[in-house]
Each structure stands twice: as C-alpha cells, then as structure tokens.
C-alpha cells in the first residue's frame, strides 16, 4: 500500500466514524466537535486530490466559521445532554432503516457505473491562482449574483433575529 492509499483509507474511516459520531452522540456539543473532525477528514481528502485551496477554505469557513456559529448557538441556549430529548427507539430505527435502504438502493444503482481512475499526478487546477482566474473570468456572474444571496440572508438575519416585543402565543 502506498502512502496515498494509507492516507485515503485513514481519512475515509475517520470521516465515516466521525459522521456516525455526529448523529449518535447524545450531547450536542460532542456532535459539533465530531462534525468538525469530519470536516477535517474531508479537507484531508481535498489535499489528497490536489484541491489545496478548497481544503483551506473548508477548514476556515466550515470548521472555523460555520461550526463555531453552531457551537455558539448551542452554548447560548445552554443545551446539554440531560435536556436533549430523544426520539423513541422505533422512530430512530425507522430513520436508520430508511436511510440505509436509500443508501443500498443508490449503491446498487451506481454499482455498474463506469470505473475511472483518478490521476495520481499532481495538477495545479486546485491552486488558488488557477481557481481565482476561473472564478473571475468564467464564473464572474455567479460570483456577483451570490451577493444577492448574501444580501437576502443578511436581511433575514436582521428581520428574523431582531427581538420583537409581544408574543401572542407562549409555550404550551
């Protein structure tokens, strides 16, 4: 086994087990930490595939910003394992079964799809210079348009997040 393969399998196992950790751990904080670990594993895969820029962005944006936001909200709400309600066993079981069934069906469907080998040779498409060029030439319209998205998200955060006085229906 080459180093590449060892790394691949290590990162794969790590990603899968941490993902399972996310959905299985009872404490929301642990879930967040597991998710961050999953993101690190995925970033590792990016590096293996010569997508260095995305690897860094993934860590900075996802693990760094988004997940911290999640963590922050969880801490703010003071949610810990004791207050975390659990779905009953049957529902959890149904969830696992249906998710698993979907996985198996799609797996079986794609089993016969063509086998392409990923090139081992290093390429430079994943480098920041190259991506920057593509982004600002070919993809300049989506780049600009995504500002509308942010603008509406911003409005949303303001409109939704701002505290408003009267609440007609209180907790039942």
């Amino acid at each position: 086994m080459s180093t590449y393969e060892i790394l691949f399998w290590f990162l794969t196992v790590m990603a899968l087990s941490c993902a399972l950790g996310v959905i299985l751990s009872r404490n929301p904080v642990n879930s967040v930490l597991f998710l961050i670990a999953t993101f690190f594993a995925i970033s590792g895969h990016y590096v293996l595939m010569n997508a260095q820029f995305l690897a860094i962005v993934n860590i900075i944006v996802y693990a760094g910003a988004i997940m911290v936001l999640f963590l922050f909200v969880i801490m703010l709400m003071n949610l810990n394992a004791d207050t975390e309600p659990q779905k009953n066993r049957l529902v959890q079981f149904a969830g696992v079964i249906s998710g698993g069934a979907l996985f198996l069906v799609v797996l079986a469907a794609l089993r016969t799809s063509s086998v392409n080998m990923l090139e081992q040779s290093p390429t430079d498409i994943g480098l920041i210079k190259n991506l920057g060029k593509t982004l600002f030439t070919q993809f300049v319209l989506p780049f600009e348009i995504s500002s509308v998205l942010f603008l509406s998200a911003m409005i949303g955060a303001v409109v939704i997040g701002k505290k408003e006085e009267a609440v007609s229906e209180v907790k039942q």
């Binding site: 895969h45 910003a65 309600p85």
Partner: protein
C-alpha cells in the same frame, strides 16, 4: 484510486446525514446533519473535478460553501427566534400546523 471509492464514500456520508435528520429531534443537530450532506456532495464534486481535471467543479464547491453559509445564517436566526418563544429547539414540538 477508482472514482467509485469516492462515490461510495460520499454516498455513505450523505446517507449518514439523512439518517441524522431522521433520528434527531434537536433542530440544530438536524441542521448540522444537513451540512454533513452538503459536505458529502462537496467531496464527490472535488473527486469528479479531479477525474475530469476541470476547475469549474471546484468553483462549484466554493459556491456551495457560500450558499451553505448564507443558509446557516438564516437558519440559526430562525432557530434562535423559535427558541426565544418556546425555550426549546425540539422539532417535535413544532406541531401546531397539521392535518
């Protein structure tokens, strides 16, 4: 490394994310599971990008992250608003609207 491996890994992560959304009651965790699904997609996208040696897929991943960030901003705002009203983030209590 055959592309299949990445395909299956990505699908596995994707389905773990789906299972998570089905199993958990905490809205924040459900939301995190959806982020996990998005990351599974990103991973597959990068693998295909590598296969075709095409940078546009990586740009696409970049946009997925952008959108995810925007969605998270709105999503957490909504969850916080909900929490303020009912002091819970349990999605099972969201059942005033039914039938």
């Amino acid at each position: 490394m055959p592309i299949q491996y990445y395909l299956f890994l990505s699908l596995a992560l994707f389905c773990i994310g789906i299972m998570g959304t089905l199993m958990r009651r905490n809205a924040i965790i459900v939301f995190m599971c959806i982020e996990l699904m998005l990351n599974a997609v990103n991973l597959l996208m990068v693998a295909f990008s590598k296969m075709y040696n095409d940078a546009s897929a990586q740009i696409f991943v970049f946009f997925i992250m952008v959108v995810a960030a925007a969605e998270v901003a709105v999503g957490l705002a909504v969850i916080v608003m909900m929490y303020r009203k009912v002091h819970s983030v349990d999605i099972n209590i969201l059942n005033r609207l039914k039938h």
